[in-house]
């Protein structure tokens, strides 16, 4: 175990020896002037070709940059792209392959949920569904007493030989809106 200080002392004391192999360069052709000329000519041709190549490509590119947008615009103007997409593209397949999770991650889901709750007035529905207190239990109790009512009414009616039945409809506006 050494402390960092000791380590740095040792580091300065070390020597690094780099061993470089010197590869002897081939001296082929150095003595032959013709082969030197040929090499030079080949290099020149290559350079000229490269320059021409670049110039031509740049020129063609510039021309294409101008022509292609115009051409595409003209083409697109002439066709109904939407209709073509609708006719030829299977949109369902694209949607099926889309990564919905990422889309949903980018949606403001809480805002949307609040919007939905506002739109359908969920609090009102809950309030009304419960009648303040009502749960299924309250509804069940009401229904049971309702059927008991009818049972007792039936018995009473049969005792006093009433055949016409009862007139239980409420006064006209009892169950209509706008009644204050």
């Amino acid at each position: 175990m050494t402390t960092p200080g000791e380590q740095s002392d040792e580091g300065t004391g070390q020597e690094v020896v780099l061993v470089v192999n010197q590869v002897p360069s081939p001296r082929v052709g150095a003595t032959n002037p013709i082969s030197g000329l040929v090499g030079l000519a080949a290099g020149l041709v290559g350079a000229v070709a490269s320059v021409i190549d670049h110039t031509v490509i740049a020129g063609v590119n510039a021309a294409l940059d101008r022509v292609v947008p115009i051409a595409v615009n003209v083409v697109v103007d002439r066709i109904d792209l939407t209709q073509i997409v609708l006719d030829r593209v299977d949109i369902d397949a694209i949607v099926a392959r889309a990564n919905m999770d990422e889309i949903i991650d980018r949606l403001p889901m809480v805002d949307i949920a609040n919007y939905i709750i506002d739109e359908i007035d969920l609090p009102k529905i809950i309030r009304e569904s419960t009648g303040g207190i009502a749960t299924d239990a309250v509804n069940a109790a009401r229904l049971q007493s309702l059927s008991l009512d009818e049972f007792i009414n039936k018995i009473a009616d049969s005792i006093i030989f009433r055949r016409k039945g009862r007139k239980v409809e409420s006064p006209a506006s009892a169950y209509s809106e706008g009644d204050v």
């Binding site: 739109e119 359908i120 007035d121 009102k124 529905i125 309030r127 009304e128 569904s129 419960t130 009648g131 303040g132 207190i133 009502a134 309250v138 509804n139 109790a141 009401r142 229904l143 007493s145 309702l146 008991l148 009512d149 009818e150 007792i152 009414n153 009473a156 006093i160 009433r162 016409k164 009862r166 007139k167 239980v168 409809e169 409420s170 006064p171 006209a172 506006s173 009892a174 169950y175 209509s176 809106e177 009644d179 204050v180």
Partner: protein
């Protein structure tokens, strides 16, 4: 599936009429607005009386505690039970009067889905409500007439031309919930 746009249009056109109706059980929908029978009404009354009794018991306890803490020991003496009976009577009378005049519903009515209305189907006026309330309390047996009445009315209902109808949704005719 209904889109928001469609829903709004339906709501504007009045096609979606009453959201409260959605939540009433199918079996009970046809009974809405009909006069209630004896069992439902008796349960509602029993609930109201139970609430009154509980309130009076709490009052009794509080008074006992109050006297225990405040009054000198030789004066410590609870009032007679008949006073509490009388106080409970007055309390129930006031409660029924206010509840029927304000919303047509007491707590018992709320639980059983009932509403008290006059001969036009509107909420009772304060005098009528007070009258019906005191009448119901001094002559409770009049409720039994519901069993034989051809229109499901108690003696009180018959004389004062009131009705107790099923109304399971709270919003309608209810000033406390009206938007």
């Amino acid at each position: 599936m209904t889109s928001f746009e469609k829903f709004r249009q339906q709501l504007a056109a009045g096609e979606v009429r009453d959201l409260a109706q959605v939540t009433i059980p199918e079996k009970a929908k046809s009974k809405q607005g009909h006069r209630s029978g004896i069992v439902t009404r008796a349960i509602a009354v029993a609930i109201d009386i139970s609430v009154t009794i509980v309130v009076m018991l709490i009052n009794y306890g509080l008074l006992w505690l109050f006297l225990l803490l405040i009054a000198p020991i030789h004066l410590f003496e609870m009032p007679e039970a008949s006073w509490f009976f009388f106080a409970g009577f007055v309390l129930l009378w006031a409660y029924w009067t206010a509840a029927w005049a304000l919303s047509g519903r007491t707590l018992g009515n709320h639980l059983m889905g009932l509403q008290v209305v006059d001969y036009k189907g509107k909420r009772l006026s304060w005098p009528l409500s007070a009258l019906r309330s005191i009448f119901s309390m001094v002559f409770p047996i009049g409720l039994l007439w519901v069993v034989f009445s051809p229109t499901n009315r108690s003696i009180q209902d018959t004389i004062l031309r009131t009705s107790v109808v099923h109304n399971w949704s709270v919003t309608l005719n209810d000033p406390f919930v009206r938007e």
